[in-house]
Point group: C2
């Protein structure tokens, strides 16, 4: 499964894997794909350093990348306290009431939330980059907009390719104008922040809009058939996020959450603003229902919502409060039904891809070929 | 592009086309696909008879089918007047106010609405079948649920294959249990009544759920690349509805509506209950916005909503009131950018399919083949 892009990056398969877990990223690259470590949760540069060191020690010299979250709209000189002050009391009360209703215990004094606002702020993303550029990363991806020009320039100086996620052809064109190298076209069915246009329609639109820039198809991919489909749509590779969440190498810190993912069907996700204030696909839970209820207070805009619910989400996760327990995940969750190693998942993907190509060739009357 | 199903039906290409227009249905079959006439708007059996006669005279002996709408839930002994009586006055007032706001003229006395409830009722669908079974139709498709057992039996006695639309693997399994022959797996991106699961995820789920029954992929398909993708996902063919709306043979009765379709992008549709009370993808207009507005009265359940807005929709269409003018259509509308003959569209689809297969073979390292 070789495209110009996979050749350029020196990987065997044009399969890119986004993951917040260093062990998964390294395993994806070792299996012949391209692992991309999500950096948003690294608020302390030293933690990122430690995990990049770990990757370097475990990736057998294979190429890998980093994903940061630099929102397109810059918020200058605003502190976390300023944002805190913008949150209405009624919303805070709603959080307290909902947690109380389900008997969610408090965090111990000083226990940090995993979801601080800081990871979304440009200073933090920049401090992540300062760390990452000391490592031989081959790709820098950005969610939520084009990266700033100086970041693109800095990456290019070091021979690092720049990718950006896009939910529409219009976004993809903006990225192209910003000088990026790869568009990740992310469809409606994807886990995480996502738009309304489904991969079947979005992928070829993005491909045609930014040609000759390469497009990676993201959203709804979890089998070799879906990889073949994405490549038929014109993508130069695929970008998978959800599928890795139930691999043996993933570390969700919650057996209950893993069980929920394994049991969920493709109809058990929702695109909700509950997590960050922007629509993100995630497991549908009584927590997302509470926020999406027209009789509730509704969600606040980013970054207020993320800050408002940060501690609550930590508490729900830590104490595994089942009806409220969720995670970003896409519709492909319906096919994530057992825990397997990244290598086993990869073997399935590549074998399934070959079978799908055979199948299409038979239909096209090229079965002798 | 031959699958077991296309061979069984004796068509050259596994491309099924749903259309409300006899001229389009005939042209699809003449081009080597399989035309399926939508019957929902035929409230008078004689009109359907007239149009099937027309098809017979223009289809060069090629096979074709009929699509009826038999809602899964039977409404026994309920008349149109009973349903009318269930509509709150406040909703009628909202319709009047909205039409007045945009200066929509009244219909002339006795002008029939194109969207009467009757087309959705089982008696009417049955009267359509009484007509259709006198014609050599090869396929009977049903929207909104499995057809009743006696209808399936009647079709099978005549050698007519039965298809049903499904928005989830669960629906697909219900259809299989009802003895149908073909599942049309219709993704979120499709025009018309549709569920939440996108084609990329839904198609393989439905394929695996009902195997060995054949699945047709519907939703978001308008190019040969998308056909190749659908077949890679395991479908035995594709089922297209939106793409034909802007063909030369289509008869929308409204140049303004055709212009809107040609200009719309993939982000200009919405899945709204405004038309029938069940979520259906359609052009987003100020009419759908009014119904989807959280400060408005909201929509009524099927069949009330359809009855409530029937005359209003007729008036908007007849007088081409631009900001309110819409139609069911899928996200593929972004690629419907010129008026072409069905044959020209078909040539594009088949040529694009061959190119997509070449492309995937190159990536799979089978370019010599
Ligand atoms: C748990 C989770 C967290 C994610 N976080 C990010 C992120 O921080 N940055 C980003 O660019 N994309 C993020 N995404 C989106 C992925 O990069 C990817 O586009 C998406 O998962 C692809 O669709 P799929 O979920 O159907 O595989 C996340 C996805 C998941 C499932
Ligand atoms: C204008 C229009 C009317 C439709 N009406 C019906 C219908 O009466 N019965 C039905 O089974 N499907 C109906 N559909 C859905 C189509 O059968 C088909 O599943 C759908 O259009 C496929 O997705 P696409 O729009 O992306 O091609 C309609 C679609 C459109 C665009």
């Amino acid at each position: 499964m070789q495209t110009e892009l996979s050749k350029q990056l020196g990987v065997e398969h044009a399969v890119f894997g986004f993951t917040p877990f260093p062990a998964v990223a390294a395993a994806i690259s070792r299996a012949g794909g391209f692992g991309v470590l999500g950096a948003v949760r690294y608020t302390a540069p030293d933690d990122l350093k430690r995990d990049l060191d770990w990757i370097e020690a475990h990736i057998d010299g294979r190429p890998y990348g980093l994903d940061v979250v630099m929102p397109a709209k810059k918020v200058e000189g605003v502190t976390e306290a300023d944002v805190e002050a913008m949150i209405p009391d009624s919303h805070r009360q709603f959080v307290r009431d909902t947690l109380a209703k389900y008997g969610v215990p408090e965090l111990a004094e000083g226990e940090a939330s995993g979801w601080r606002i800081t990871g979304w702020m440009e200073q933090v993303a920049r401090s992540q980059l300062d760390v990452a550029f000391d490592y031989p990363i081959r790709l820098l991806a950005n969610a939520l907009g084009s990266p700033p020009p100086d970041v693109v320039a800095r990456a290019h100086e070091r021979g690092v390719l720049v990718a950006a996620l896009a939910g529409s052809a219009r976004h993809a064109l903006k990225h192209k104008a910003a000088g990026i190298d790869i568009v990740v076209a992310q469809g409606y069915e994807a886990g995480g922040h996502t738009g309304e246009i489904a991969s079947m329609v979005l992928t070829p639109e993005a491909v045609d809009a930014v040609a000759p820039l390469p497009v990676l198809a993201a959203g709804g991919i979890g089998s070799g058939r879906q990889i073949a489909a994405a490549l038929a749509l014109g993508a130069q590779g695929v970008w998978l996020g959800s599928l890795w969440l139930t691999t043996a190498e993933a570390d969700l810190h919650s057996p209950a959450l893993t069980r929920k993912l394994l049991a969920a069907g493709s109809g058990d996700t929702v695109r909700s603003r509950a997590l960050t204030g922007k629509p993100a696909r995630q497991l549908r839970t009584e927590w997302t229902d509470a926020w999406d209820d027209p009789h509730g207070p509704g969600t606040l805009p980013m970054p207020l919502q993320g800050l408002l619910v940060a501690d609550a989400v930590s508490r729900i996760q830590k104490y595994e409060v089942d009806p409220l327990l969720g995670t970003p995940v896409g519709q492909i969750v319906g096919r994530m039904n057992d825990v397997r190693s990244v290598q086993a998942v990869f073997d399935d993907l590549t074998r399934g891809f070959e079978q799908a190509v055979d199948h299409v060739n038979r239909i096209a009357g090229r079965s002798g070929q």
